[in-house]
């Protein structure tokens, strides 16, 4: 499989890509259909609103408890896993994580890595890194396999190939997999994918997976899936490397029970997925399969920045169900690729600034009508709209301003002119006398309003003050001001 077609989209130029996506009727139809489908499936899983709200309270409490104790839980997880024979690695950056994984591959003289689904590995662009060093990564999740064949990246964190029609996939398979005639029969397409990947599981030197949850008390990695590729990747090759965002650990294995229920019901509308795969160590003496070596890479990559700020810490409550994107009016219309980041949609808008810095992501928090749908469906009650507003503030904050927890790229969208206008505005609005003067002037001098008002008038008619203010009109009607 060739990696040469892979292209990495920078997270700048968001507006251009969003415009292109909006003008693509096929893509719009794919996403609209898929999002309606997933919304319906989720809704059917929560027939009892009280149970849902109670479970969300519980999910939020469990995740907040875990985050409050995060450093201790990571140390406990490490110590339990190490005692069971798992090697635990800490990676501050994407590069460090890639280098750790490459070193393991080198030590094993590995040429082939079979991958279960892992968004953390997408985040660090592992496939690209290893390919440049002569190690092939093959994605085995059907959706990931499809986007890899197409030389693309996932457009959804749970359903990576959601932007593709069965016709697209039929063409792709016909072109890339030998002896495959064009067919739009989904069963036949899946069997083709299964056949093509079967040998890859047998031949792989290393299996790489993500982690959905980790339990500190028992030292257990909890993997959630339907296809069985995650189990194969973590069972058949001699070495298993798991990569996990450092926020995913919880205090007890039993705390994962309600979280796993929230995850599968919110993500794909399933009461449970086909497999919950709980891994607590490498193959033991006498066992006849399972990897002899298990590694866990704990990834920071900007997460400690979100952690440092009490409000932004809530970002790390996320269990990666994708419900926020499934319900987002912006994501539904532009799809996942327009964002240019590994994590698209509302969760992408609030996590990406920590991973990539605000310079590269300042437009993302503004791509929201703040309708609140994401916050309303979030199974762990992350206040996504409030965090979007906060990130907008940080992007527009004077870069020279000293704050307790500066974000990388603070002030990426800062403009001195805009800053002054806002200062004037807030001054006028917080002093009644000043406001009355401003109102008096605005209503009388309205003829002087410029016809061109920068970004506003690109798509809208100019803003012009009314001839009479609302309070004047109310006074006319005899209402008190």
């Amino acid at each position: 499989m060739s990696e040469s077609t892979l292209h990495f989209v920078p997270s700048q130029d968001f507006k251009t890509r969003a415009r292109e996506a909006l003008d693509d009727p096929k893509l719009r139809k794919s996403f609209r259909g898929a999002m309606d489908f997933l919304q319906g499936k989720r809704l059917a899983q929560f027939p009892d609103a009280d149970e849902l709200e109670h479970l969300r309270d519980l999910g939020e409490a469990i995740r907040q408890h875990a985050l409050a104790n995060l450093p201790d839980l990571l140390v406990q997880l490490e110590s339990n896993l190490t005692a069971a024979g798992v090697q635990v690695h800490w990676a501050e950056t994407a590069d460090e994580a890639n280098a750790i994984i490459h070193r393991i591959a080198q030590a094993k003289q590995a040429r082939r890595v079979i991958k279960g689904k892992s968004m953390a590995s997408e985040e660090i662009e592992l496939n690209h890194y290893l390919a440049e060093r002569g190690v092939d990564c093959i994605e085995s999740d059907m959706g990931e396999y499809i986007v890899q064949l197409a030389g693309e990246k996932p457009s959804h964190i749970v359903m990576p190939a959601i932007h593709k029609t069965k016709g697209d996939i039929a063409t792709l398979f016909e072109q890339h997999i030998p002896d495959t005639p064009y067919t739009e029969d989904v069963d036949a397409l899946i069997q083709t994918g299964r056949r093509a990947l079967r040998q890859a599981f047998v031949e792989a030197d290393i299996g790489l997976s993500g982690v959905n949850f980790a339990a500190a008390d028992t030292g257990t990695l909890w993997l959630v899936e339907n296809e069985g590729n995650g189990r194969l990747s973590t069972t058949v090759p001699d070495v298993h490397i798991a990569i996990m965002g450092m926020e995913k650990v919880v205090a007890r294995l039993e705390h994962i029970v309600p979280l796993s229920s929230l995850l599968t019901r919110s993500a794909t509308g399933q009461a449970i997925t086909t497999y919950f795969n709980l891994i607590s160590g490498p193959r033991r003496e006498g066992e006849r399969d399972g990897p002899r070596e298990v590694h866990l890479v704990l990834l920071d990559n900007g997460r400690t920045q979100a952690y440092a700020d009490e409000q932004l810490r809530a970002t790390l409550q996320c269990i990666r169900c994708g419900a926020c994107m499934n319900h987002c009016p912006v994501y539904t219309r532009i799809g996942g690729h327009a964002y240019g980041t590994t994590y698209p949609g509302p969760i992408g808008k609030i996590i990406s600034p920590h991973l990539l810095g605000l310079e590269a992501t300042a437009d993302l928090p503004t791509a929201s009508s703040l309708c609140g749908a994401c916050g309303e469906v979030c199974p762990v009650r992350i206040p996504i709209p409030q965090l979007l507003v906060r990130l907008r503030t940080e992007a527009n904050r004077n870069p020279e301003e000293q704050v307790a927890h500066p974000l990388r790229g603070q002030g990426a969208k800062f403009s001195r002119g805009e800053h002054l206008i806002w200062r004037f505005w807030s001054g006028a609005f917080s002093h009644p006398k000043a406001y009355r003067m401003f109102r008096w002037a605005a209503t009388r001098l309205r003829a002087l309003t410029p016809a061109k008002q920068m970004g506003w008038t690109q798509h809208r008619t100019p803003l012009t003050p009314a001839a009479r203010s609302l309070s004047d009109l109310l006074k006319d009607k005899g209402q008190p001001e």
Binding site: G33, M142, P160, K166, R194, T235, E254, V257
Partner: protein, 235 residues
């Protein structure tokens, strides 16, 4: 003075920011979880209801399910396996259930034991075995889930690589839900290297949200629920 490691720097940043005291204790969280599940309407209260719920949920997940007595199931499965054209069946002859099934198999179905490490027969395992037989440790009635704890005789791949997975679960081992299973079986006291929960055959909806079975794991799944509770001791 040596430079700090990534581990020390990451933990240092977390410790600098972590709240001095957590708003809730672990015990409080445990209690809230217990209260939540105690407050849920019992989906499967009583033995018969648990078996019925198990069967219905498994069937909804596209598994074939039979109920049989402890003496009748080997013949039932042997017959079904022969009808399905299974020629090589992976089982553990050192365990009573595996031995009983092996005994009942007709000559055209060969019982294969997992007597070598996977490295020694990977290609053979992937290409020539038609079905794998496992005995579940327990089950979860609410979701139709088998709890498997692979061991030396029934390794992880038995329920994963062959295109047909045949599983036995005893009615007396069925829990109402996952929370009860984890609590009753005291998972917190220690976990095996691998514990797998299986709820039906392997599947995917990755192509245009169309459900297809047999993605990478078994295409078909058969489950026999063994009636092992006599009428007098039903809980």
């Amino acid at each position: 003075m040596t430079a700090l490691t990534a581990r020390e720097r990451m933990l240092g940043r977390l410790r600098a920011a972590a709240p001095a005291t957590s708003a809730t204790t672990t015990t409080e969280i445990d209690g809230r979880i217990d209260a939540h599940y105690a407050g849920c309407a019992p989906i499967a209260d009583g033995f018969e209801a648990r078996v019925a719920s198990m069967q219905a949920a498994l069937e909804a997940s596209h598994a074939e399910v039979w109920r049989a007595t402890a003496s009748a199931w080997p013949a039932l499965l042997a017959d079904k396996l022969a009808q399905a054209g299974v020629r090589r069946l992976l089982l553990d002859p050192s365990q009573p259930a595996g031995a009983a099934l092996k005994q009942a198999l007709p000559p055209q179905v060969e019982a294969v034991g997992y007597d070598r490490p996977i490295e020694q027969w990977k290609a053979e395992l992937f290409d020539t075995v038609d079905a794998g037989f496992t005995v579940a440790r327990s089950g979860i009635a609410a979701t139709g889930t088998l709890i498997l704890t692979p061991d030396a005789g029934s390794p992880r791949t038995v329920s994963l690589v062959p295109p047909l997975h045949v599983a036995l679960v005893h009615a007396s081992t069925l829990h109402a839900d996952l929370h009860t299973a984890a609590r009753t079986e005291r998972w917190r006291d220690g976990m095996p290297t691998n514990l797998v929960m299986v709820s039906g055959p392997s599947k995917t909806s990755d192509i245009q949200q169309t459900l297809a079975y047999g993605a990478h794991g078994p295409r078909r799944m058969w489950v026999v629920i063994v009636d092992d509770i006599d009428a007098g001791s039903q809980a």
